[in-house]
Subunit: 432 residues, 2 copies
């Protein structure tokens, strides 16, 4: 399919081509109230202002619901359901189309352009959803193997359940923050020498602070308690996808996680990218995930084996001395389980999901060291320092380090579907 | 201290004596809108109606905040802070006092009595808080030992970290429901013969459905991300306590929980009692918990060693054939860690807590089989059937079984501080 062309200037290579139209929450210098917007090229289209000035006059479907664009989160818009998201996205694409059938709406309306279009550099991004519950899965098979090997050795690296169900755990919704929010190194309880069985733990600044390269999916359709979401319907319940950094304190994790799983090691901060890419925008980039050599139970069987996304994922590290380098290149395809499978499993016992619930994929690593989505894997839990091009080395993150994830689908520079950035910089641990 | 006497009829033995004044959310036949109330004897005092009719005229502290009593959850009232809860509780006690200094408010105001006082049998109770995040701890030492023995044998029953930190995991907030809500037996993935290493799992109705006798505490004061709550301040952040049944699917749990902890085994339903007993009302019943023979780190050290509560906890089982019996008698004192310690640990890495967040204690068992707070313990994971007085037996819960928890503090029948009931009845698993 040739790229859609716009009358509006969209730089080549932009993550936010006309093929994308991701949704987010913005505020601006002129109006501090957070509201809904879409990203187009280097700009945001303020949908509250767009609505107030009859931008949706040609789209009767959305008119009874226009108040959703004045909300401070995407929850109300998401709750309208995927058919509505689809219609709104297509309408916005048509408004920006070079040959738009609605020139009067925006193309020939310089007044509305002034009121509703803002350079991205001038908008403040906010957390896109009010997140009721956040669940983190462990669907990156290569990561699960590498991480399991660090904690339990190669023989027990993958547990017997791993290929039968998407392993997951409940995470902490209150510490999910939007890209750009500083992350404070946590103090935590851990053993300085985990091998010394009788040694006492300390409470001290984390010494094994790590990132985790993940994708996250937001739920747009609730299910009642006691009523599982059938696998063949699960895709309809997924609004869209963000990049996610599930910051981890590996020393805390190793000491605390048996028997009830990761807790304080994960609850001090999780960063998500600000723009949510709709499921519709990702659909052309579906492909087959990692082959599962286990015959999964029917409640996890998808109709279409193409159920994960070909998203090129990069991890960049900028050290406190200002040197930047790419330290990992992975891909959304390195997942054993898809989001619909995660959702079907999550609700298999009848767990109720709500609009705005977030599911993380788990760390997405490839098989090669240059594709490892965490420092736990890259440095073998601190045993092998990672050499940076600047000459610096890292076992884990240091104060002042900034981690940036980028993710993008497609090869046509005029039709990329990207996620922008997911950024966090490490601040020193609090004194106590 | 002699019992407070009231002009209002409060039955002897009521959980809701004048010493209590627990808070909850009610609706009535005449007004379906949920709102704040307190329980007194066999009645509820509707605080919205009380407020609207100048009930708080003698309490200037609360007047700027009276709108909180029209809310459909306790979040806004809780956010006012413990000094305000304390003043409101004392004022309501004084209004009901036999020698009330404010007879015109209610004692001599039969009109307001008619408008604001409802028999408990006629009110509908609602979930008391909008719960942002729910965390379940594992602070019942005897339970931790008994459960660990079932899953890992006696040698590894307690993990090395157990006495150094309050082990906990993030739970599922969306499936916390108020007492009386039916609980549907989940279908789930498990192995019918966990010992058969190569056997395939099934997706089928849970065969090891269990209850867990817990207490839960609600947070009333938020902390910013990155800022731990100091142990000596933690008590101020706890609004009050409820009874909690953390229903568990043991077969699902055993198959799924390594390495990331319990997930689907716990997310299909958690029942809490409807009335929240304020921290102030529980203060006279503080006592020393189980002695910790480990020297805990300073961030977990309490000033006062009396930090758990002497609450007599009962578990009653009513089978589908209508026979009722008490199957466990435990006590809130069988905890190794207190709620302030749980909160200090939870926030030790900087995890932000919000008003309305719920912390569960973990199952509270004594040392004797008659004190075991779960069937996992009582039946030794299904190996030893529990004999009921009716002649029936139970390894785990059957469809139609109803579990009722009761909890009460004190011995003076005119001054009990109780929790009412926490009830749930098992419905058959959904067809699929």
């Amino acid at each position: 399919m040739p790229a859609l062309k716009s009358w509006f200037s969209i730089p080549r290579g932009s993550h936010f081509s006309l093929a994308n139209i991701p949704f987010g929450i913005i505020s601006t210098a002129s109006s501090k109230t957070p509201r809904v917007a879409v990203a187009i090229g280097d700009h945001a289209l303020d949908l509250e202002a767009f609505t107030a000035n009859n931008g949706f006059s040609a789209l009767s479907t959305i008119q009874p619901h226009q108040a959703v664009f004045s909300e401070s989160t995407l929850n109300a818009f998401a709750a309208l359901g995927r058919p509505v998201h689809s219609v709104v996205r297509k309408y916005i694409q048509s408004v920006f189309d070079r040959d738009t059938p609605y020139p009067e709406v925006l193309k020939a309306n310089s007044d509305l352009q002034k009121k509703a279009i803002f350079p991205l550099a001038e908008v403040q991004m906010h957390i896109p959803f009010q997140i009721g519950d956040y669940t983190d899965f462990f669907a990156g098979l290569h990561h699960a193997f590498h991480a399991g090997r660090q904690f339990r050795g190669p023989i027990n690296a993958l547990q017997p359940n791993y290929k039968h169900l998407p392993v997951g755990y409940h995470g902490r919704a209150s510490s999910v923050v939007v890209s750009g929010t500083p992350i404070r190194r946590p103090n935590g309880q851990y053993k300085t020498d985990p091998a010394a069985e009788d040694s006492a733990p300390v409470y001290a600044p984390c010494r094994k602070l790590d990132f985790e390269l993940e994708l996250g999916a937001f739920v747009c359709k609730p299910n009642d308690m006691g009523k599982p979401v059938p696998i063949l319907e699960a895709e309809e319940n997924i609004f869209g996808v963000v990049m996610m950094n599930d910051w981890s304190a590996r020393d805390v994790q190793q000491w605390e996680y048996v028997p009830l799983g990761p807790f304080n090691a994960k609850n001090f901060g999780t960063t998500i990218s600000a723009w949510v890419v709709l499921s519709d925008a990702l659909a052309p980039f579906k492909l087959k995930g990692i082959e599962n050599d286990v015959d999964v139970l029917p409640y996890l069987r998808e109709k279409d084996s193409k159920s994960v996304f070909d998203i090129r994922l990069n991890v960049d590290l900028k050290t406190s001395s200002g040197n930047s380098s790419t330290i990992a290149e992975s891909n959304g395809k390195y997942l054993l389980w898809s989001f619909p499978q995660m959702l079907a499993h999550h609700t298999s016992t009848g767990c109720p999901m709500q609009v705005g619930d977030l599911m993380g994929s788990g760390t997405i690593s490839g098989t090669e060291p240059t594709q490892f989505g965490s420092l736990l894997e890259q440095s073998e839990n601190g045993k092998t320092p990672v050499q940076l091009p600047s000459g610096e080395i890292r076992k884990f993150l240091e104060d002042g380090d900034e981690i940036t994830f980028t993710g993008v689908c497609g090869t046509d520079d005029e039709a990329l579907v990207g996620f922008g950035q997911c950024v966090g910089r490490i601040e020193p641990a609090p004194q106590f």
